[in-house]
Symmetry: C2
Subunit: 371 residues, 2 copies
């Protein structure tokens, strides 16, 4: 076998994503393709839908992977739920909240925003008050902000949103498969995620789910969904019987997602969520012992992604560069308002493991002491 010559180096992926794939996922990825309407492939599609429902913790029929990255998932949600002049409220707590504002605006929504500091979380009463002042048909929020490492209290916010008669759209890009999303328990109407973070599959697909109220909105649209590629009416007919041709699914990526989801089923979602928390707690404890401060208070901290404050007088880029060159470890830089101020350290999926925590802590100790 001829190895791919560009990449003979190991990388330990502990940035904000992608995370390392499980070797079984890479094996599935490289399986020779079959036709996208092959009877065997249709069975795999159905099983992927079953497993996605398990990981989303939902009974939603319209649950499938979008054939694009997490950003395509975000656009699918907005394109199908927002019609021109629809009032939309976006809760902005970081970079990806800003992106939701931009996208809902491009799709013609009448967009209002509620802001909180980067690294802080909303109180449900703030959302209720804002919806009282200015009603909206849709409220969009990022559960786990990849740019800040804070986890929003979705259950409480969901109650406030539904009491105001709006639909709730949740970005679960950095939570699905590592932190509970609980679509049905939390009464979430629509949610999207990605494959390259807590699912530990390659980047390129976006797990997606639409509940009954979102489906009703979709069926009652006054105008066609502007995007053809992301039109859920067409995607549902393709994914479900009678499998009406819409596009050619990314077949090998579906193999990989299938295997990644099966690994979650085998471990059990509950055990996986506990594992993410346990390893994160050890990381936080160790970082504290190194004298490093975390940006987000413990009670709102995201297990899958930790933002670490860059100490005074340290060149944050030099630290990342040394980690990558000498230790093969990737961690992330700050994004947006936190650029230059934090590092972003991911413990996601396959890479949320005690050995990785030990390696990270010791490498960080050496590199920051000598920086």
């Amino acid at each position: 076998m001829i190895a791919y010559p560009e990449l003979h180096l190991t990388r330990y992926l502990h940035g904000p994503g992608p995370s390392d794939c499980d070797p079984r996922v890479l094996q599935a990825l490289a399986n020779p393709a079959v036709g996208h309407l092959d009877p065997d492939f249709l069975k795999i599609m159905a099983d992927v839908q079953r497993l996605l429902r398990l990981v989303w913790q939902t009974e939603n029929e319209l649950t499938l992977p979008i054939s694009g990255t997490g950003t395509a998932g975000m656009e699918t949600a907005i394109a199908n739920l927002v019609e021109p002049r629809d009032p939309v409220l976006v809760c902005v707590a970081g970079y990806f909240g800003e992106r939701l504002v931009e996208m809902a605006t491009r799709y013609g929504g009448d967009v209002a925003r509620l802001d909180c500091g980067w690294g802080e979380v909303f109180d449900a009463s703030q959302v209720a008050d804002e919806l009282h002042r200015r009603p909206a048909k849709l409220v969009a929020i990022v559960q786990a902000e990849t740019s800040t490492g804070a986890l929003q209290p979705i259950a409480e916010i969901s109650k406030a949103v539904h009491e105001a008669g709006a639909l709730l759209l949740v970005d679960a890009v950095t939570s699905l498969g590592g932190v509970s999303v609980g679509v049905d328990d939390n009464d979430i109407d629509a949610a999207y995620s990605c494959t390259q973070k807590c699912l530990s599959a390659p980047s390129g697909l976006s797990p997606f789910t639409f509940g009954p109220r979102a489906v009703e909105k979709l069926r009652n649209r006054k105008e066609k969904v502007r995007s053809f590629y992301l039109d859920l009416n067409l995607l549902q007919q393709y994914w479900e019987v009678p499998h009406v041709y819409h596009h050619t699914a990314p077949i090998n990526m579906i193999f990989a997602l299938h295997e990644a989801l099966r690994l979650i089923e085998q471990e059990s979602l509950a055990a996986r969520i506990t594992r993410h928390l346990t390893n994160a707690e050890r990381l936080w404890e160790g970082l504290g012992e190194l004298g490093l401060a975390m940006h987000v208070p413990l009670e709102h901290r995201l297990p899958s992604l930790t933002t670490v404050r860059v100490p005074e007088g340290i060149d944050e880029g030099a630290v990342r560069k040394r980690l990558l060159q000498d230790y093969k470890i990737e961690i992330g830089a700050g994004l947006g308002a936190l650029k230059g101020k934090v590092w972003r350290v991911g413990l996601m999926g396959y890479a949320s493991a005690p050995d990785r925590v030990s390696m990270l802590l010791d490498a960080l100790k050496h590199v920051t002491v000598t920086a």
Copy 2:
């Protein structure tokens, strides 16, 4: 290593796509991921762009893969080139021409269509006459219709389009890497393709190129591109220095595309195009000897995809089923207007090979005789 248990069967993919990947491509696909902003990955991105220019036969700077399938590539072209009320002419010669009409309409274009029979080609004078009657800013046409197996005379049509002052958008989904597209020689302004046909990479990316006139149109748009995910302004900044974050590239898919393009460079594009024609000619000769008629006249026939008329009294679905079950060979059914009337037989990329032609001809002979 644990094999992916669902798919222990070999398949020979000779439908309209996906085609079989080269084993080297699958090897690259399964390489452990690196970060999407890793210095080594940025080098790979640049090399993918260089190789895409080679395969597109262009110097266009704005040449990159879209992070979605061929349909996403089509939507990228339309979303960036069409503004509301822009007059657009679509030359419709099959299923994917119809799709261009649908997509341009969704993006607000004032869309006219010029039709020809499914399996026929346009004469450039028809296009010139239509543009004289009703001027357009953009003319869109499918070079190689996957639904019919006919190859349009792009060089002549391009002259007519540019004499009328319009831009030319070409769908090269079933031609790129197997049939000459010649973006610069044919003065094509914009073109998109897919990865799972003549490039023999997995499905999920869409090679894309935009020439100087298309870039000028993009820069002078009155309103923002409606799609965020497919906004070429943002995609260009992500793919080129300074690599501004837009989405997380499908990293493993980029590895696979890189290797697939390198295989073309090693073989040479010219040799590959000759190979596609030579193997197709042998297939056509053999099909004739079996008494099977081809739907498209020889002079307009596409080497990568042949439409074969289903003889009277033959159950076309039963033939496909037996080929798949007994011979592991996939061929395609007819689509749209040709449903039930033709089979679609692909000889694409890695699978355009003498051994495959022999296997196909003998299997078809057995199965149609006993059907």
